[in-house]
């Protein structure tokens, strides 16, 4: 889908802050509110805007344990469907947060979330490794998230500028 300049501008703004009020958004892109609403709706319907989510720092949510692992997966591609079929078999599991086809030493990069290391270990040994096309897996547990999707988690956002300057 070929986007207009205004549409591109809208998704750039919403990608940074999905909660930008529609009247503010309209002013920023210099369009009437109604017209902006129509464009946003259109982008939603075309699934250019897939979803609006919140970026959570789960470390600050006490009482909710969780671990994230990145798993390098080597697979045998299948004639006709390549990697797509096995990728689909993997991403259907709800605990799988993302699946990417990679260049380089392995084929699929799988991000998975679980309540404990044991739970992830169980998933890898029982669900993932046992798939026909999977040749090997290497599991890396994430110890700490510093930056995610361009956002630094512990960013001191204080303004260091002097209050009035020429």
């Amino acid at each position: 889908m070929k986007l207009s300049d205004k549409e591109l501008e809208i998704i750039e703004i919403l990608e940074k802050d999905a909660r930008t009020p529609i009247d503010v958004l309209a002013k920023m892109v210099d369009l009437p509110v109604e017209e902006t609403e129509v464009l946003v709706k259109k982008l939603e319907e075309a699934k250019v805007i897939v979803q609006y989510t919140a970026l959570i720092d789960w470390r600050k949510a006490d009482g909710r344990e969780g671990v994230t692992a990145m798993i390098d997966v080597k697979v045998t591609p299948k004639r006709g469907v390549g990697f797509d079929e096995v990728a689909e078999r993997i991403y259907r599991f709800p605990e799988v947060k993302s699946v990417y086809l990679m260049s380089g030493a392995y084929d699929l990069s799988v991000v998975i979330e679980g309540r404990s290391m044991a739970e992830i270990a169980q998933f890898v040994s029982e669900k993932l490794s046992t798939l026909d096309s999977v040749i090997s897996t290497t599991t890396h547990f994430i110890l700490k998230k510093y930056k995610h999707d361009g956002i630094v988690f512990d960013q001191g956002d204080q303004d260091r500028r002097i209050v009035v300057s020429p």
Binding site: I13, K27, V29, D30, R160, V163, S165, P166
Partner: protein
């Protein structure tokens, strides 16, 4: 000796300079908590990491000595390439460009290098607060040409011509303008150029905000036909590259004029800070992407902020560049100073009264929109409340 009597040691010229109107607001705003400041004349972005990293690397490698008076040749070559690429003007990096301590120093040097005692220098107002005192300090006589909000602060060549006398040496222009955000159109530049030629004037072109132009292609004074000869082009890294604290600018001019400026620079300053020059080198080589992103961000905030000002009853033209909105507060019946002071005390929003930028700024306030969108929204809310109470 009483402290008061020590004042006699201060030179008459300096004693005669009027205190900066900004200073008073700075002191007032600094003493209060919870102030949203739209009074800041600098980007709200921290310098890109790649630039900071390059500067840190230069320190690690021990590049801590002086550079050539004119600055690193490598940097001057990059500046020459940048000026050619961006503004289609050609300067020789060896003889026609040098690196200064901010664009401010370049303006000071330009004025000192060209002014004979009593020479007149025309300043287009409202203007950046430093031009007038710098002309005075250089021994010249500042002459104001006024522009008005009704014309969106565009320069009327007739007014400019009327201000020219046989003592006129130069005209200082600033485009995009601080505080009005107005960008001189090609036609205005052309008109200034023809007057400069007719009356044999120099133009000191402060183009520090050139990177922050939101519509169309920026045209440099030096790119106007015949004007390379007569222009002292001044720019720097502070605004476009968000490097205010680095204090790094540059000047480009025909060799005879530039070398005169450099002569003062070598005695008064030696050279611009070395670590800052290494940062600037990275800025010119790899900084374009960040500049574009910052510019887009300012443009969106400008659109939001100016539309909102008009909505709450402060008429404001859409500024073509910089990051200032310069709305009229005339509908309120207050003076700029009264408006700014009451807004600060009653609603804790700091703006700069327009009159500090010259008489033609009276009736206006300067609001910087280089603040987060949340802050701008909150400021609009408070200003609306303030206006409703008046």
């Amino acid at each position: 000796m009483k402290p008061q009597t020590r004042k006699k040691y201060v030179s008459k010229t300096v004693a005669g300079l009027k205190p900066s109107g900004i200073r008073r607001f700075f002191d007032l705003a600094s003493s209060m908590d919870g102030v949203i400041s739209l009074g800041v004349g600098e980007p709200d972005f921290v310098t890109s990491w790649s630039i900071r990293e390059a500067s840190i690397l230069s320190l690690e490698q021990g590049y801590t000595s002086y550079t050539a008076n004119a600055g690193l040749l490598e940097l001057r070559q990059e500046i020459a390439a940048y000026l050619r690429r961006k503004f289609h003007v050609d300067y020789c990096p060896e003889t026609e460009i040098f690196v200064t301590v901010g664009a401010s120093q370049a303006i000071d040097l330009a004025l000192r290098a060209i002014i004979n005692p009593g020479d007149e220098v025309i300043i287009v107002e409202p203007s950046f607060v430093a031009y007038e005192p710098l002309v005075v300090l250089a021994g010249g006589k500042p002459v104001a040409v006024h522009t008005s909000g009704e014309d969106k602060f565009q320069l009327n060549p007739v007014h400019l011509e009327r201000a020219i006398t046989e003592r006129t040496k130069a005209v200082i222009i600033c485009s995009p303008n601080n505080p009005t955000g107005t960008v001189l159109s090609p036609a205005e530049l052309e008109a200034i150029a023809r007057l400069a030629e007719a009356y044999d004037l120099l133009v000191v072109a402060d183009e520090i905000y050139a990177e922050l132009t939101y519509e169309g292609v920026y045209m440099s004074m030096a790119a106007v036909s015949g004007m390379r000869e007569r222009t002292i082009l001044i720019s720097g890294f502070s605004k476009g590259f968000a490097m205010t604290g680095w204090r790094l600018g540059f000047a480009a001019a025909p060799e005879e004029i530039l070398q005169a400026m450099l002569k003062i620079h070598q005695y008064a300053m030696m050279c611009a800070p070395t670590m800052a020059q290494y940062g600037a080198l990275e800025a010119l080589r790899n900084g374009e992407r960040d500049v574009v992103e910052m510019r887009n961000s300012y443009r969106r905030r400008r659109n939001y902020f100016v539309a909102s000002l008009n909505e709450i009853g402060l008429p404001c033209h859409l500024p073509g560049g910089a990051f200032y909105a310069f709305p009229s507060i005339k509908p309120t019946g207050l003076t700029s100073e009264q408006f700014a002071e009451r807004l600060l005390i009653e609603e804790k929003v700091a703006v700069v009264p327009g009159n500090v930028f010259g008489q033609s700024g009276e009736g206006y306030i300067r609001c910087s929109y280089a603040s987060s969108l949340e802050q701008l929204q909150e400021a609009i809310k408070r200003m609306k409340r303030f206006l409703a109470r008046l």
